[in-house]
Amino acid sequence: MLVKKRYRISGEIPSSSMADIAFLLLIFFLLVSTIDPDKGIGFVLPGKGGEFKVNPKNITNVLVNAAGQVLMNDKEIPPHEIHREAARLLAENPLMIFSVQTAENTKYQDYITVIDQLKLANATRISIADSE
């Protein structure tokens, strides 16, 4: 019985196009990667001369003093509890405007914490009052 020998399949990976593949991968990752995207809190400042009267019922004054203490509607609130209070106020009145007022020597970090907390409560209407 004569069995024809099957031709041998060579077990080699073709390496001639390896460089091309590496090249393509490299180009792909170069294009796709972005260097250190900027992260932060987006905010839109009120336009110039855009001061207008609003119903006092729709305003919550948020005062921040130099020591980082926060007064919200004449009630002192720990800075990291602001989002709860803000969420509660927003649930009561969806049109609520939060007017953040800082002192001249308030730290920037405290201001950012307040804005951050208001954003956590999904407050969209945040205004900043001039520091006095």
Partner: protein
């Protein structure tokens, strides 16, 4: 008279190693280029939780505020009163301008308020307070 034809010289450049050469050149240039090294001031960014990424890098212009209240725009120190002038020209050049405020967390709010007013003056209203993710 039969003159024997000279052997023809083959004028082929070997192209098999072309990718390798390009690859090496690429690697070389990648290694030797350096990113822009000095930009702005050394600031300790404030921490925040609800942080969002800025979609484009193209329309961003940075204002650095150092912890002692020094303001720097485009690697130049700027006096507080001149911020609106500088930003206005940028705003005119690019109406979609987003101002990224990279201020130190210990800056006093007086400086930031002045910058706010200057930006309002310049009609550059889209601001991004640069921050790092808080881990409290």
């Amino acid at each position: 008279m039969a003159i024997k034809k000279k052997t023809k010289l083959k004028a082929i450049i070997p192209t098999a190693s072309m990718p390798d050469i390009i690859f090496m050149l690429l690697i070389f240039f990648m290694m030797t280029t350096t990113m822009r090294q000095v930009e702005g001031l050394k600031v300790l960014l404030p921490q925040a939780k609800k942080i969002e990424k800025v979609e484009t890098k193209r329309h961003i212009s940075y204002i650095y505020v150092g912890r002692d209240g020094v303001i720097s725009i485009d690697d130049k120190l700027v006096k507080i009163g001149d911020v609106s002038k500088v930003m206005y020209s940028k705003r005119v050049a690019d109406p979609q301008l987003i101002v990224s405020l990279r201020a130190d967390r210990n800056v006093q709010m007086g400086v930031i308020s002045s910058i706010h007013n200057e930006l309002r003056e310049a009609d550059a209203l889209r601001v991004n307070y640069s921050a790092i993710t808080a881990n409290y």
